[in-house]
């Protein structure tokens, strides 16, 4: 194997990656050997806990000090050597090459694999570097076709290449379709880039209130295995005594500390995830890079884009923030493979609403139109439903337990009535729809107000629903189905005439033959 690959390491230049036709196929190339350094550092993440566990075990055995030290050292060395051996074998057995037509990868220590992707099918190239790999100048490259047909995995992973090599590979793979593209992107500047003032939106989630308590709960588990019990009786008793000594001061104090920690934590997580954020438009695709420690950079072809979604969760909305997501094909099932959907469809961190709207306008090619409100009958329906809901709960409680139900339950129910009425009205106010030259726009939701602009060309069918109650109120729910994003986007409780009109206009010729006026 080594005979075919030639020297490796940082001195290797990526020139011969290019498309220039060479006599015969280009040589097979190896991954970057500095991966060994990265994996030895990363192996500490396994080695240290293992050593601690060994230490704890050895302490219980009444061994002499030197034995304990020896056992710990042996465990440490063993883990690191095992990881390094595996990585060395992996590096030795993995080769790749870029020919004029295909990107090919040979890999596998025991089971050999030979996989290849046609270059004209490459739709995304993602670069990722955790802090260790970053310091060493390495990047993990994932090349995807954006197709999810039978045959499963459609991504090739090169783990790792040197950063220059990775950047070059991305350029070559994605630019082959757009030769004249190189210079123009830089001139335009990014569509959007990181602003430290956005950090103020980071704590506007529920996690700020429950995050700190949750983290303590999660961390106490592994600490328990290592023999540190946060919740032993003495600690618990001391905490309880401290708390009950002056509950009116100390309970709020604890809650305040919890929120404070949550807020700081949220801000830190936000900065780590989204620091250095940049969204750039290059001809035919979008490039998103982000991450303060682990840097990620995702490139997506614009022809997979079917629209955008402006998402305003309740707390963020109160703070004037919004975030933008893409509605794109091929993302959802990719998310099921290994990463979270959030990660892939998110186009921006929470940012000022006006900025998000401006960005949405640019991506959809024109200002989004004013939304039409839905008929008042939709509000009446919601108010009625919420009252029925309360009535059912009351009836059920009364029937089940009417003799000795404490009175505060009834008080709570009475307090619930204004909330549910508010919710019904807010839910109604959220509704809206409009038709833009290229997009169908719909809005709904209270806890997460979502405005979706779905490209009309991306609508691949209609599903129109009308329940008995809707029929009586002259309302209808129009669902546009699409290959992208959530699979369907709904215009809920629109007036029957308007809804059918909207669907008819959005995709000319599809619904019209079936509509009677």
């Amino acid at each position: 194997m080594s005979g075919t690959t030639g020297p490796t390491g940082p001195t290797r230049r990526p020139e011969h990656l290019g498309t220039a036709p060479e006599p015969g196929a280009p040589a097979w190339r190896t991954l970057d050997n500095r991966s060994l350094a990265a994996s030895s550092v990363l192996s500490l993440a396994i080695a240290v806990p293992v050593t601690l566990a060994v230490l704890r075990f050895a302490n219980g055995q009444h061994w002499p000090m030197s034995w304990v030290v020896a056992a710990c050292a042996a465990a440490l060395v063993l883990v690191i050597v095992a990881v390094l051996t595996y990585d060395l074998l992996r590096l030795r057995t993995t080769t790749w090459r870029l020919t004029a037509e295909r990107l090919e990868l040979r890999s596998g220590i025991a089971v050999r694999q030979h996989r290849s992707i046609p270059r004209d099918r490459v739709r995304s190239v993602d670069l990722k570097a955790d802090p260790v790999r970053r310091v060493l100048g390495l990047s993990v490259v994932k090349v995807g076709t954006g197709e999810h047909n039978a045959g499963g995995d459609s991504t090739l992973t090169l783990d790792p290449l040197s950063r220059t090599e990775a950047e070059h590979l991305r350029g070559v793979l994605l630019h082959s379709g757009h030769q004249a593209a190189e210079g123009t992107a830089a001139e335009q500047g990014p569509l959007s880039s990181f602003d430290w003032s956005w950090t103020r939106f980071a704590p506007l989630t529920v996690w700020s209130f429950i995050g700190a308590a949750l983290v303590v709960g999660i961390v106490s588990k592994p600490l328990g295995w290592l023999g540190v019990d946060l919740w032993d009786n003495a600690v618990r008793e001391a905490a309880w005594n401290w708390l009950t000594a002056d509950p009116w001061l100390r309970v709020p104090l604890i809650l305040l500390a919890n929120v404070l920690l949550g807020v700081v934590g949220a801000a830190v997580v936000f900065a780590v995830q989204w620091g250095n954020y940049r969204l750039e438009q290059e001809p035919g695709r979008l490039k998103l890079s982000r991450g303060l420690l682990t840097t990620r950079s995702l490139t997506m072809e614009e022809r997979r884009l079917r629209g955008v979604e402006l998402s305003e969760p309740l707390l963020a909305r109160l703070g004037g923030a919004a975030r933008l997501k893409v509605v794109a094909t091929g993302l959802k099932r990719k998310a099921e493979e290994n990463e979270t959907a959030e990660d892939l469809s998110a186009l921006t961190p929470p940012l000022p609403r006006a900025d998000a709207v401006r960005l949405a306008d640019r991506l959809t090619g024109g200002p989004l139109p004013r939304l039409h409100p839905h008929p008042p009958a939709a509000r009446a329906k919601r108010v009625r439903m919420s009252l029925v809901e309360v009535a059912v709960v009351v009836a059920a409680l009364a029937a089940a337990d009417w003799l000795w139900l404490p009175s505060w339950v009834w008080a709570a129910l009475i307090a619930y009535v204004p909330f549910t009425l508010w919710h019904a009205r807010a839910d109604y106010r959220a509704l809206g729809n409009a038709l833009a030259p290229r997009h169908l726009v719909t809005r709904m939701g209270v806890s997460n107000l979502r405005t979706v602009a779905l490209e009309r060309k991306g609508i691949i069918g209609w599903e129109i629903k009308q329940s008995y109650f809707q029929r009586r109120l002259g309302l209808i729910t129009v669902r546009a189905t699409t290959a992208a994003g959530a699979g369907h986007y709904d215009v809920v409780d629109v007036g029957q005439d308007d809804g059918l009109e909207l669907a008819g206009e959005a995709v000319p010729g599809l619904l019209e033959p079936f509509v009677v006026r």
Binding site: G461, I464, Y468, A483, L510, P513, F514
Partner: protein, 161 residues
């Protein structure tokens, strides 16, 4: 008021017999289990007797009424441009898929359907929101329809997304 017209075709009349048989079988199982539990595990108070009897009557009445309702409201149509279906009474659902976006066409026959000579045609698009089903067609008609749909969709250009 603007409305959607009903699709032209009804499902095969044998569908009523099929659905009735299916629901009767289900009813016998449900009522049987309920009756067994009533007989062996309770003291058989009078109100429970009434309840079980009411359940039995309800199940058997619905086995006859339900399929006839379904038959009235379930309709379908295939034009040169699109597949169009309607179903449901309490919640009516109309579905339209254009030929150019159809990805696969399947037919499906359950064991009981085979007894009545029926088949379903299922049309999928690239959307994750599910396939359009035309239920309970005559088996030969379903096969013809599937063949026709396949031919039309293959002749239509585009990648259906």
């Amino acid at each position: 008021m603007t409305t959607l017209r009903p699709p032209r075709n009804q499902v095969d009349p044998r569908a009523v017999a099929w659905w009735t048989t299916e629901r009767l079988i289900l009813s016998v199982i449900v009522v049987g289990v309920a009756f067994a539990a009533y007989w062996f595990f309770t003291d058989r108070p009078w109100w429970l007797t009434l309840l079980v009897a009411a359940l039995a009557v309800f199940c058997f009445v619905m086995s006859f009424v339900g399929p006839r309702m379904l038959y009235r409201f379930q309709r379908w149509e295939v034009t040169e441009e699109a597949v169009y279906t309607r179903k449901g009474w309490f919640e009516q659902t109309w579905r339209v898929a254009p030929m150019s976006r159809i990805q696969t066409v399947d037919t499906k026959r359950g064991p009981l359907q085979r007894v009545f000579g029926l088949a379903d045609v299922k049309v999928t698009t690239a959307s994750a929101s599910g396939a359009i089903a035309i239920e309970a067609l005559d088996a030969d008609l379903a096969a013809d329809l599937a063949a026709r749909l396949t031919a039309i969709t293959q002749a239509t250009p585009g990648d259906a997304t």
